[in-house]
């Protein structure tokens, strides 16, 4: 297979990339965290997949479970008017339903319990659940016409994160790591942050996995708590000086081994150990937000002081973006509101609204927003009818693949802009549908990658993030 390591090639590439003052360790670092700066281009017979990028990095605030577009960003007054009436068969059409509501004897339309108003110069409608997001709508680009093919979480989240409904493909971040390498020499190019103690629909290691790409392209999870990266800390009883001493002796042994065996792999290993040693200080430094000024916590909310919250992760995402980490993937679970939606969605909104908005404004103030892409959204939308009994104060919504809303902000996408529209039932797209593969193609495009050309040959076939589909949504680009 093409992705087998060829260390010799790496050496030459490494030399090219090395910042000379950092010596061997740094050199390997460049090649290891950034080992394939050009491997994607080396695949035989391909034209260059690259052109001038609009953004250098992505922060993807993934809202797992399927946030209800009808309560957040896509107001449908008709649903309030028709509250309790059955979903007309003509609207539903051929749409298959999940087994969780398809057995119901009726499909009563459910109007949102939350009020909407228009905000900013763009006049974008946002519900009362998202007051902070409402204030930054002029920075955002709403896509109201997202749709997917899967109707259940596992296939849907796997689809939007890897381009296939079933396990086995590389995730978006690993494609980017493979295609673009990393800009940072002390941190991985693809970092994952998960809100702690949330529960909800499961996450899977495959969502940030490398699939068939070499495994250094998988996302590295940074966690709140003492071991920010697994096995990062020295064992107790071994302080950094001891470790340095140990590594120095180990290097001597490895050097002797190399002299005797001639295998360049041994040197590559030494370089990895040096990289690991440096990560032991670079990662804790990133994770330590104690030096952030109070006004930052005012922006992100008090939650941001509590490590592992969504707000704290948003703040970390900004710090990682500042250090040019290529792809920062957040996950926030808990949006799967089949029942008791009016109650549960308030908690979810409260946990995410302020920090999401703050992240956009913080990046803007630092001049980072112009070359960073922020994405907020889940794996599908929710039905306009109630799953379970509709009462005056309560209802639930089932999964709905036919339409959902996401927003993006940052370099390359139009500000204060809304793209696509759904019908007055909030069930079908009536204008400018955006398929998951279109979204992925657009994301790659913003990073300067032609999604049809970033391929990897595996089992005889050239695979892409977008399979054999996807069109860049040009109309949302600046």
């Amino acid at each position: 297979m093409d992705h087998c390591h060829n260390y010799e090639q790496q050496y030459s590439r490494r030399d090219f990339l090395t910042k000379t003052s950092l010596g061997l360790g740094a050199a390997s670092l460049a090649s290891l965290i950034n080992p394939l700066k050009s491997l994607a281009k080396e695949q035989g017979g391909m034209g260059s997949p690259y052109f001038t990028p609009k953004v250098k990095r992505v922060i993807y605030l993934f809202q797992s479970g399927g946030p209800s577009q009808l309560e957040l960003f896509d107001p449908k007054p008709l649903l309030r008017k028709m509250n309790g009436e059955d979903l007309p068969a003509s609207v539903r059409g051929e749409q298959r339903l999940t087994g969780m509501s398809s057995g119901q004897s009726s499909f009563p339309l459910a109007g949102s319990q939350f009020d909407f108003a228009q905000f900013g110069n763009s006049g974008a409608p946002v519900s009362e659940l998202m007051p902070h997001t409402a204030k930054v709508v002029d920075e955002l680009c709403f896509v109201k016409s997202m749709y997917t093919e899967a109707i259940n979480h596992d296939p849907a989240i796997t689809f939007i994160q890897t381009g296939s409904q079933f396990p086995g493909r590389p995730s978006i971040g690993s494609w980017l790591s493979y295609g673009l390498g990393s800009e940072n020499e002390n941190l991985p190019g693809f970092v994952v942050l998960v809100t702690k103690n949330k529960l909800g629909q499961p996450l899977y290691a495959r969502l940030w996995g490398n699939g068939f790409l070499p495994s250094q392209h998988q996302g590295v999870q940074f966690r709140a708590g003492k071991d920010a990266v697994l096995y990062l800390n020295n064992p107790s009883g071994v302080n950094p000086n001891d470790r340095r001493m140990q590594l120095d002796y180990l290097n001597q042994l490895q050097e002797a081994q190399h002299q005797s065996l001639g295998d360049p792999e041994i040197n590559a290993r030494v370089a990895q150990y040096e990289m690991a040693y440096r990560m032991q200080s670079s990662v804790p430094e990133i994770m330590d937000t104690s030096g952030e000024p109070d006004y930052i916590y005012d922006m992100y909310g008090e939650d941001a002081r509590e490590p592992g919250t969504f707000a704290a992760n948003c703040l970390l995402a900004r710090r990682l973006a500042e250090r040019d980490v290529r792809f920062i993937q957040l996950y926030h679970q808990g949006w799967d509101q089949h029942g008791n939606l009016p109650n549960a969605i308030q908690t979810q909104a409260k946990e995410t609204d302020q920090a999401s908005a703050a992240l956009v404004m913080d990046l803007k103030q630092r001049g980072l927003l112009e070359d960073t892409l922020v994405i907020w959204g889940g794996e599908f939308g929710r039905t306009n009818y109630s799953q379970g009994k509709l009462t005056k104060t309560n209802y639930g919504r089932d999964h709905h693949p036919r339409c959902f809303t996401i927003w993006m902000a940052g370099g390359g996408v139009k500000k204060g802009f809304t793209y696509g529209a759904t019908d007055e039932f909030g069930y079908n797209i009536i204008d400018k549908p955006v398929h998951v593969h279109d979204f992925q193609a657009t994301l790659l495009h913003l990073l300067g990658i032609d999604h049809e050309k970033l391929t990897f040959k595996f089992q005889g076939r050239r695979f892409r993030l977008t399979d054999v589909h996807g069109h860049v949504v040009k109309d949302i680009l600046t």
């Binding site: 509501s101 396990p167 086995g168 290691a205 800390n233 071994v238 042994l253």
Partner: protein, 1085 residues
């Protein structure tokens, strides 16, 4: 339209002019191409040189898939390529590249003309163009695909130059290639490295010091062979071979999708270990796994082996479309089989014909048809195993079960015999004839359904009840309407239900009866009358009385769907909008015939849909699956995920539940008393009366009946605890397989019988069209792939790189064999040996090729970094499992127990719960204690969505799909694992203790001992010096801060040896840790 045709015409004219001019003026190849032409081999071979180019760049549009074929041109066959194009030209004209239209298009600079077209993002290099040109010049000869021609045993090439190097036939082939490439083999590896290499390769473990010393001391000629034989005979060999098979078979201890709950698969893993250890012939090993259940009189192990094809991921996600996922599992089996045994990427033909290989979409579904005939579910529960299942009783359990079975048979015979002796009953029957009514037993619940009222629970919450009975509960607002007698309850919308508490829990051996009047409003869907049966996460356990979609009353007694239940259905249905009396009785015997269904007082004929119940039917909760007394629910089932909620629309009245099986007369009585009838007017058959008498008046019958229930109970007590495993089992009636348009589960087109790809080898008419036939096809002498693919995979295992470097792909896009004749020699020899795996492996490790030193000189680093031509011995970073096992072995921690349930060694906290909380059994990773912490990594619990991070760091796959080749990467995370993972830190400190206590007197001796434990060789003087300095410095540090020594020694569960000096022990721990990070520790050299 006209314009379009016109412009096309003009365009073609222009092409012709341009190409015409090309022919006229440009008889030479472009300079760069001409230069490349000069460097080409003398003879250009279609298979080896040309097809890889054509396949990769041309076949997607000019290959066998006629749905995407452009310009009606096929380049994958001679006929297609030589045929005249619509323009009159020919794509290929043998002997003349300049007349070959295809080459002219390739050479063109015009983006409108050039091939491949720019929008394909494909292009050809100068060398590739030259190759095609030269091939055309030499006659453009097509040949069948090399891998599809059955291998023949080639002559052994003689090697004069390297005669000393040649130890066995492998070396003849390798030497010939080396000679041809002007390379030379390396010197033999030194004994220490060779011993470690072969011990690692054959057992996954390092040699012990004693084994090293013995080998070093053994100067006999066959010293090495004795070692090889010893290793092949060891049980660790079975474990090592099984380790690789786990990747191939996508083995895991969890389901892999959504909740990713627990499954029990380890008994199958143990069977694999045993099979390798006993050197089961590979054809048999494979046949049992593919079709063991179909062998004549299949025994337990043969059935157990088929768990291989139940290892695929499964989902328990509520709401999925069952058929979509069921097919996914079928496809997984079929692709896995194609990958492992055929080295084909068959899965590429799921949505359309294969783009490169001669595999049609029809081939894909024909192959899948072999695996489609299993009674299984697409959506299962979050945790647990689902049918078909195999019970794995111990010998003692098996004996008990068999004898109970035997007794049950006898007893059933006795009961039938008694029932047939009707004469004895005449007296009673006469008595009965005069009676206008019979007494009915005391019910455990009777609900006349007359009123709705409110009450409060102990917490003060109010809820609605019927008949002032606090053990009832209604949800939502069902209406009281006029009933068959007094009032009745009417359900409407799926939210209205009635629950009857504390009376519905019956065991499989307990008789019970349910009786109710119903007036259904509809007959569109399955409607639950009354049930305790649960949903997917409690195995749907319990019982259910329901109306099918045409209102036939039916009964299910469920332990677990789809494989452990009774399901029987009335042949008579009931009308809409009228009151009917429906009832069923169950006598506790465990069979479908032990259930009787009644309509309007009379027993009705039934159709048994499934009859295999062998475990408890007591309802359990989801999650921990502990027994809970789930209320009987009316109005709706408890199912909530399948889209089939069992919503009953209509009325119910006069509900009875009995903890006895009522007799036909008693049921008639229940009907008659409400219908205002007299049972004498019911025209009941004689059998009804006979049964009544037998059940109520015949003491012997009653006793036997009770004995039967007791036997069922005894059986339950044994069987309930018996481990079960998911296996393959054919349904009696084959399930049809269709070609699915675009691969979509809901788009069936043409029906296809089970078959194999004809391009590989026709499926003989003499073979059974089932998995057993498939297996025979795979291992037939004419099959060109199976033997080659297998020897190649084992070659990769030993040499690190396959002779074909794409072990999963022997198709057009796969790599070509570097040593084709060697591959064929191995394949035929392997087959002729009776598929003897040990002999194959032995041949490989006995070869001179294997026994070379792996030291690389500068030229090798430059010219053959991947050791393609085998001018040195194999060398590679060890797989994840071996690295950990070696640390355990070096420290002495390793517990060499074989088999058993998977174990949970150290793992950072919280990794499972942060992924999801749906699986109850796998909610939190709970580390094991004691020996289980130190088992070989083959036994480490594999959870697919959260694989062990230390294993993943070293490229262990997560087992979502069949993997026949692992990555071998080098990352900083690997360094962090070896330095900081408590497993390795503990190993280092225990190894430190070992050096201190047993490593000899002097520091030098201890270092020597440690170095040998970790790397298998003695250190050089220089290495001793370095480690000595490390020891001295570490000791100084720990002496100045003894607390540090303390805390380092406290890591891990293994007890600290308090006899030893702490600072010294800690310093030796640092030395050991350094050794466990040494190249030669984690690399095979």
């Amino acid at each position: 339209m006209y314009t379009m045709i016109y412009s096309k015409y003009i365009q073609n004219l222009i092409y012709c002019c341009i190409l015409g001019s090309l022919w006229c003026c440009q008889q030479k190849l472009p300079e760069e191409v001409a230069q490349a032409y000069e460097t080409l081999p003398e003879t250009i071979d279609y298979n080896y040189h040309v097809k890889p180019i054509l396949s990769d760049r041309c076949f997607a549009c000019h290959g066998q898939d006629n749905n995407t074929r452009e310009a009606d041109l096929r380049l994958d066959t001679e006929e297609g390529a030589y045929a005249a194009l619509s323009s009159g030209e020919k794509a290929l004209v043998p002997g003349s590249w300049s007349k070959s239209h295809a080459l002219q298009r390739i050479l063109s600079d015009d983006p409108e003309i050039v091939m491949p077209p720019p929008e394909s993002n494909l292009s050809l290099t100068d060398e590739e163009i030259a190759t095609i040109a030269k091939w055309i010049e030499q006659g453009a000869e097509y040949k069948p695909h090399w891998a599809f021609i059955p291998p023949e045993k080639p002559e052994l090439p003689e090697s004069k130059q390297f005669a000393e190097f040649v130890k066995n036939p492998i070396d003849n082939f390798v030497a010939a290639t080396l000679e041809a490439r002007e390379l030379s083999p390396s010197n033999p590896a030194d004994k220490q490295r060779l011993l470690r290499r072969v011990t690692l390769d054959l057992t996954g473990l390092p040699p012990t010091i004693e084994e090293m010393d013995a080998f070093l001391a053994d100067e006999s000629e066959d010293a090495y062979e004795k070692v090889v034989d010893r290793l092949l005979a060891s049980s660790a060999y079975g474990e090592r071979m099984a380790m690789e098979w786990m990747d191939v078979s996508r083995y895991a201890d969890s389901h892999g999708l959504h909740a990713d709950g627990a499954r029990t698969m380890w008994p199958w893993r143990d069977w694999v270990i045993k099979s390798f250890s006993e050197n089961m012939p590979y054809d048999q090993f494979a046949t049992w796994q593919l079709a063991g259940d179909l062998l004549p009189d299949a025994d337990r192990d043969q059935k157990l082996a088929t768990a291989f094809n139940r290892n695929h991921p499964m989902t328990g996600e509520g709401g999925v479309v069952d058929e979509e996922f069921r097919l996914k599992y079928v496809f997984d089996r079929s692709s896995t089989t194609a990958t492992v045994f055929l080295g084909l990427t068959l899965e590429c033909a799921q949505c359309h014909d294969h783009k490169f290989d001669p595999l049609s979409q029809k081939d894909y579904y024909s192959m899948a048809a072999f695996f489609n005939n299993v009674r299984e579910l697409g959506m299962t529960g979050d945790d647990g195993d689902y049918g078909p299942m195999l019970l794995l009783p111990s010998n003692q359990q098996k004996q008990t079960i068999d004898s109970l079975d035997h007794l049950t048979e006898e007893l059933r015979g006795d009961l039938t015999e008694i029932a047939e002796q009707k004469d004895e009953l005449i007296e009673y029957l006469d008595e009965l004839s005069d009676k206008s009514s019979v007494a009915t037993p005391q019910p455990v619940g009777y609900f006349p359904v007359e009123r709705i009222s409110s009450t409060k629970d102990t917490k003060g919450n109010s809820y609605q009840i019927i008949d002032r009975n606090r053990k009832t509960r209604i949800a939502s607002e069902p209406q009281l309407i006029d009933g068959i007698r007094g009032k009745a309850l009417h359900f409407d919308d799926g939210y209205e239900t009635l629950a009857l508490e504390e009376i519905g829990q019956f065991e499989m051996n307990e008789p019970f009866t349910a009786s109710v009047w119903v007036k259904p409003d509809v007959d569109q869907k399955i409607q639950t009358i009354m049930a305790t049966a649960g949903a997917k996460n409690d195995f749907w356990r319990g019982w259910e009385f329901y109306l099918d979609s045409t209102n036939h009353p039916a009964v299910k007694l469920i332990h677990s769907r789809p494989h452990n239940m009774v399901h029987t259905k009335s042949l008579r249905n009931i009308p809409i909008g009228e009151w009917s009396h429906v009832a069923f009785t169950y006598n506790g015997g465990g069979k479908a015939t032990d259930v009787e269904i009644y309509v309007n007082g009379k027993s009705v004929a039934t159709n048994t849909l499934y009859d295999r119940l062998y475990k408890s039917i007591k309802t359990v909760g989801s999650g921990a699956h502990q027994v809970i007394n789930r209320p009987i629910q009316l109005g709706k089932s408890y199912r909530g995920f399948t889209g089939e909620f069992g919503i009953y629309k209509g009325a119910v009245d006069e509900i009875y539940v009995f903890h006895q099986d009522l007799t036909p007369l008693e049921i008639a009585q229940l009907y008659a008393q409400t219908a205002g009838e007299n049972i004498t007017n019911l025209d009941l058959p004689e059998e009804a009366k006979v049964d009544h008498v037998l059940q109520r008046n015949h003491r012997q019958y009653q006793e036997k009946q009770q004995q039967l229930r007791d036997l069922v109970q005894q059986q339950l007590e044994v069987v309930n605890d018996v481990t079960e495993i998911m296996v393959m089992e054919e349904e009696p009636k084959p399930r049809p397989m269709y070609v699915l348009a675009r691969g979509a589960y809901d788009a069936p087109t043409e029906q296809v019988p089970p078959s194999t790809p004809g391009s590989v080898l026709q499926f003989s008419k003499d073979l059974r069209r089932d998995r057993l036939g498939l297996s025979q096809w795979l291992f037939s002498e004419e099959n060109p792939l199976t033997a080659r693919v297998t020897v190649n995979r084992y070659w990769q295992l030993i040499f690190g790189r396959g002779i074909v470097d794409t072990p999963h792909d022997f198709g057009f896009q796969g790599s070509l064999p570097t040593h084709p004749e060697l591959l064929d020699w191995l394949a035929v020899t392997f087959r002729e040996s009776g598929w003897d795996v040990k002999s194959l492996i032995k041949t490989m490790v006995m070869s001179g090729t294997y026994r070379q030193a792996s030291v690389q000189n500068e030229n090798q680093v430059k010219d053959d970094p991947d050791n393609v031509w085998l001018a040195r011995g194999p060398s590679q970073r060890l797989p994840a499992e071996m690295i950990r096992d070696n640390a355990l072995a070096a420290s002495g921690l390793l517990v060499e127990k074989i088999g058993g349930a998977s174990v949970k060694p150290y793992q950072p906290e919280g990794l499972w719960i942060e992924k999801g909380s749906f699986s109850h059994e796998l909610l939190h990773y709970k580390e094991d204690e004691g020996d289980s912490l130190y088992r070989r990594s083959l036994y480490t619990f594999i959870r697919r969505t959260s694989p062990h991070p230390a294993m993943v760091a070293f490229d262990a796959p997560n087992r979502d799909i069949c993997t026949v080749k692992r990555e071998n990467t080098n990352t900083p995370l690997q360094a962090l694992v070896l330095l900081n993972d408590p497993q390795f830190v503990e190993a280092a400190r225990v190894m430190g203790q070992r050096l201190l206590a047993n490593g000899g007197e002097t520091t030098d001796e201890k270092i020597n001992y440690g170095f040998r434990l970790a790397t298998g060789r003695k250190p050089t003087e220089k290495e001793v010096g370095i480690l000595k300095n490390l020891f001295t410095e570490a000791k100084e540090r720990f002496t100045s801060s003894p607390a540090q020594a303390d805390s380092l020694l406290a890591i891990g569960e293994y007890p600290v040896n308090r006899q030893l000096n702490e600072t010294e022990a800690a310093a030796w721990a640092m030395v050991s840790s350094t050794l466990l990070n040494h190249d030669e520790f984690y690399t095979k050299r």
